[in-house]
Amino acid sequence: MKRILVCVKRVIDFNVRVRVKPDGSGVVTDGVKLSLNPFDEIALEEALRIKERGEAQEVVAVTIGPADCQQQLRTALAMGADRAIHVVHDGGVEPLTAARAFLQIIGREQPFLVLLGKQAIDDDNNQTGQMLAALWQRPQATFASKLELAGTTACVTREVDAGLETLEVDLPAVVTADLRLNEPRYVKLPDIMKAKKKPLDSVSLADLGVVPGARVRTVRTEPPAQRQRGIMVKDCGELVAELRKRGVL
């Protein structure tokens, strides 16, 4: 079966104004809206489109997280994933641990393509896809804005600092999604009902033989230095004069 594996992470919704706890122990998560990482939604959407074109037969979504992140896996199923795998783990995992767990899932599922988001917008690490590709010893195409399959290879356009780069990679491969790869579909109510009946398997990191690393400890969390609100000018003349005065023109 031609299968695509998509890694989806639950994060604080991108619309939430994240606040640091006063005691510096982390960010406020109580009562805060949680969603699928936006880049992962894009990765999933791409997998669904590939399947809809007939270039894959099954889309499997996988997440690593605590028991209650099944809700986001149900969202992935409602979007159109055929099955979901929940790697149950309380607390965060380091990217290398996540990559190790995904490698084990790959061993079981044998996908020809693994899609991830380019970064999770909580820790902003931007590491997991690259690490997974290294451990799997397969190609990686990060920051993808276009993905075309052609038999045993894929052609991927990447958003790099210099412009748009195109890579040709042999399959299987790891591709990480950038914002402009596609626009994810909205989930409709009947899909949510259907998703309840789709298979969702749970495993633990231990079942996968993965020992979570805790090699990077967060000592302190602080709000960023705030910029001061500046002055308002009333016209172009004042603006130019002000900038000259400040020595920036």
Binding site: D124, Q127, Q140, D178, R180, E222
Partner: protein
């Protein structure tokens, strides 16, 4: 004592400014001994430039035809091989470094710290999370090799003026052929580069069309500035994707940043927090961009920008 390997970013002919910023970051480690590695098909010019960076002790030049294009899958095993005697391996937090360094870290079984913005000790660093809304101080377990990408907007480039020795080294590791470079389309322009420019003029959704976006180019040219754009402007096709400024675009720290018709979404502000002077032009006095702007002007950009251009020409 910290032994730091900095992976150079370059285009085959010239060093990218990010490399000198990595060196500056590495100099923040006590007693750092800094080696720059240049992977290229022919790295003579780039290695010479790297050798001239103040603070660099040694340059390792690895020439292989496979290194003609920076492919992470091809470079990572070479970097990992060279990294053996080093305590730290740094690369810039550009698309080059973000692509490559995690692959290196996985091969080394080392943790990676992304977007390092400050050095507190050889094992303690600060980095942004949540689009810059929470700054974390992280401590890496003692005795581990540390791989990191350096947030280039947080460090000044180390100046030229050094004279390190360049050594050609052979790295004999098998390289994969499963990943092939097929091309790059870069909008060639004579304007300053967005990431290193001292002045940047950016346009947002308010410009309304690619045609209107030329207003931004006009003003930028007047100021000798690079051009940037919000995601909304890029998504709408007004500007090329490599001009996007923000959390998922470029993080920049120019002397002057002019935001025109940009609301100031958190993801955009993340990219400009370190700019020295931020100017905002927006018709909505309540736009969040004004909360961070040093100088704000409320009004219609289609009237203001042409007038500004005139004033700056006069």
């Amino acid at each position: 004592m910290a032994k730091v390997l900095v992976v150079a970013e370059h285009d085959g002919a010239k060093l990218n400014a990010g490399t000198a910023k990595c060196v500056r970051c590495a100099l923040g480690l006590e007693g750092a001994e800094i080696t720059v590695a240049v992977f290229a098909a022919d790295g003579a010019a780039v290695a010479a430039e790297a050798a001239g960076l103040t603070g660099v002790a040694r340059v390792l030049r690895v020439d292989r035809p496979e290194n003609a294009h920076a492919l992470a899958a091809v470079l990572a095993p070479q970097v990992a091989q060279l990294a053996a005697p080093f305590s730290h391996v740094f690369g810039p937090s550009t698309t080059f470094g973000k692509d490559l360094m995690p692959r290196v870290a996985a091969l080394l079984d080392a943790p990676q710290l992304s977007d390092v913005m400050a050095v507190e000790s050889a094992s303690r660093f600060r980095r942004p999370t949540y689009a810059g809304n929470a700054i974390v101080t992280v401590e890496v377990e003692a005795g581990l090799k540390i791989v990191a990408t350096v947030r280039t907007a947080s460090f000044e480039a180390t100046p030229a003026g050094g004279a390190a020795a360049v050594e050609s080294v052979a790295v004999n590791v098998p390289l994969p052929a499963h990943t092939r470079f097929a091309g790059v389309s870069a909008a060639k322009s004579d304007r300053p580069d967005l990431q290193s420019a001292t002045r940047v003029v950016s346009g947002g959704r308010a410009l309304g069309s690619a045609e209107n976006f030329k207003l931004i180019y006009g003003l930028a040219d007047r100021l000798g500035a690079a051009v940037g754009a919000s995601r909304a402007a890029v998504d709408a096709g007004f500007a090329a994707s490599d001009l996007q400024v923000g959390q998922t675009g470029k993080i920049i720290a120019p002397e002057l940043y002019v935001a025109i018709g940009i609301s100031g979404a958190i993801q955009h502000l993340t990219g400009i927090k370190d700019a020295r002077t931020i100017v905002a032009i927006n018709k909505d006095a309540e736009a969040p961009i004004f909360e961070v702007a040093d100088v704000g002007l409320v009004g219609d950009l289609f009237a203001i920008v042409p007038e500004l251009e005139k004033l700056l020409t006069a």
